[in-house]
């Protein structure tokens, strides 16, 4: 099977049953993407497919041979952090860090959805979005953090979104 991952062509022969998540981790060595629940409930496996955030555990690798797949490894590196990675460090948006790659990939996709004008469950109007902490929390509800670093995650995303700080940094 042929894949395009982080801009590069990759070849692998996973079992037909392999999820996109297992392809990344077990066949391509891209272990930045994490397996939490493996049932689409925790968001640790979030990656971007053709620019949209999805749960990589709930889709088959074989179904994504023609897609552009972007993982945390493709967003930034230790030397050149993505702005969201830098903001998570600055605001201490994690404790154990296991959910962090999924949180950051999800936030990248989420901010793109906001830029496209997509409303959310908490949007007062479906026509105009006023991005605030409540909007960020609702839009990130598919990413769980068992360390409960949520306030700092919201602060990190809020800063990258260009919002005024909502409170004291951790």
């Amino acid at each position: 099977m042929h894949f395009t991952i982080n801009g590069a062509p990759r070849e692998a022969e996973p079992d037909i049953r392999a999820s996109l998540l297992d392809l990344l981790r077990e066949h391509l060595g891209l272990t930045g993407t994490k397996k939490g629940c493996d049932h689409g409930q925790c968001g640790a496996c979030t990656v971007l497919v053709n620019g949209r955030r999805i749960n990589s555990c709930l889709t088959l690798a074989v179904m994504h041979q023609d897609d552009d797949i972007l993982t945390i490894e493709g967003l930034g590196s230790a030397d050149t952090l993505h702005p969201l990675q830098a903001a998570f460090v600055k605001h201490d948006g994690f404790q154990c860090g296991y959910c962090t790659p999924g949180q950051i990939c999800s936030a990248v996709g989420m901010l793109d959805e906001v830029a496209k004008g997509w409303p959310s469950h908490v949007s007062g109007s479906l026509d105009a979005i006023d991005l605030n902490d409540a909007e960020i929390s609702e839009r990130m509800s598919g990413n769980l953090c068992r360390c409960s670093a949520y306030p700092n995650i919201v602060d990190a995303i809020s800063e990258v979104a260009g919002l005024a700080p909502s409170g004291a940094d951790a």
Partner: protein, 324 residues
């Protein structure tokens, strides 16, 4: 997961001819395959079919391709303008990641989230016909109070389908013999009776290709969902309501309910209790009486009956201007 054959279809005709289980977003089917609750021998990948557009029809309605993702449908400007109850219902469901994957057709065909359907160590008539129902007499907090049978008290989990039921959507299908069917959403789902494993009127190999919405209805639209956490949870009770008021009387009403029954629930008696009357608490109570006349709790879901009454009355009060 049991292994399977895989084929990618390049047209709806090829998909129905392929003779396998269709997979689009896969967010529900793959989850169930991992648990071996679903064990298809062949998957037919329909995700690349040209069924991902939303088109306006001459009559003013919309035709929604079966592969339109939930995210795109919720954010479509024509849906927001003419069918805000549908946008609101979609946005109340699942997470951003899941809405990006979940398709319109797949959402209609979601399986129940009954705990015992998922627990393969326990009897379940829906998963294993004839084995018994563990939910009756078990943990049933999230389960149905309307339309149940002594074989099954599962709920249909969709929010989207509840709004579509209030909007009188039509489901368009393609059968393996090439015939097309147009099925009113009110005729699409089946009550469990003694065959809870059969959930819709779809025949073997029949593919949902589109969902049609009639022209936008008159009145004000609302979707209200009550759940155990503020986001990313299935409904305990949800209400999709479309009400118009003229000359201080309710001129039209369409109400559908989630979390209560084995299908997105609608009862014409509820609407008959409202239409023609001036909004008042007594009228709203009568509508709730009509909805809940046959409601039957199974113990830990008994609370849904008074909860539904209160949520319905609150919705009606809000939609009629808080006059009652």
């Amino acid at each position: 997961m049991k292994s399977f054959d895989y084929a990618r279809a390049d047209s709806p005709e090829a998909a129905v001819a392929a003779g396998g289980r269709f997979i689009a977003g896969g967010t529900n089917l793959l989850d169930l395959m991992k648990l071996q609750i679903e064990t298809p021998e062949k998957l037919v990948d329909i995700s690349r079919l040209d069924l991902a557009d939303i088109e306006e029809r001459a009559d003013g309605g919309l035709t929604i391709g079966a592969l339109v993702p939930n995210s795109d449908l919720a954010a479509d400007r024509r849906v927001i303008k003419g069918y805000p109850v549908l946008s609101r219902a979609l946005l109340a469901g699942a997470s951003g990641q899941l809405r990006n994957k979940a398709s319109t057709g797949g959402n209609l065909l979601q399986r129940t989230r009954c705990y015992y359907f998922y627990d393969t160590a326990m009897p379940c008539n829906k998963r294993d016909p004839g084995s018994g129902c563990s939910a009756i007499g078990g943990f049933n907090r999230i389960l149905a109070v309307l339309g149940t049978s002594d074989q099954c008290i599962a709920t249909h989990p969709s929010d989207m389908a509840v709004a579509m039921r209030a909007l009188d959507a039509t489901i368009v299908t393609l059968k393996p013999d090439g015939d097309r069917r147009r099925i009113a959403i009110g005729d699409f789902y089946r009550l469990p009776g003694d065959t809870p494993q059969i959930e819709t009127v779809l025949e073997g190999g029949e593919l949902i290709t589109h969902v049609e919405l009639p022209p936008p209805p008159a009145g004000t639209q609302l979707y209200r969902k009550v759940r155990d956490r503020a986001s990313y949870a299935f409904a305990l009770v949800s209400v999709a309501a479309i009400i118009s008021v003229e000359d201080d009387r309710i001129a039209s009403a369409a109400l559908a309910f989630g979390g209560l029954g084995p299908m997105p629930w609608r009862n014409p008696a509820v609407e008959a209790a409202l239409v023609g009357n001036a909004p008042s608490t007594a009228v709203f109570e009568a509508a709730a009486d009509a909805l809940l006349a046959g409601a039957k709790g199974s113990g830990s879901n008994d609370f849904k009956i008074p909860l539904t009454r209160r949520v319905l009355i609150a919705c009606l009060r809000d939609l009629t201007g808080g006059t009652a």
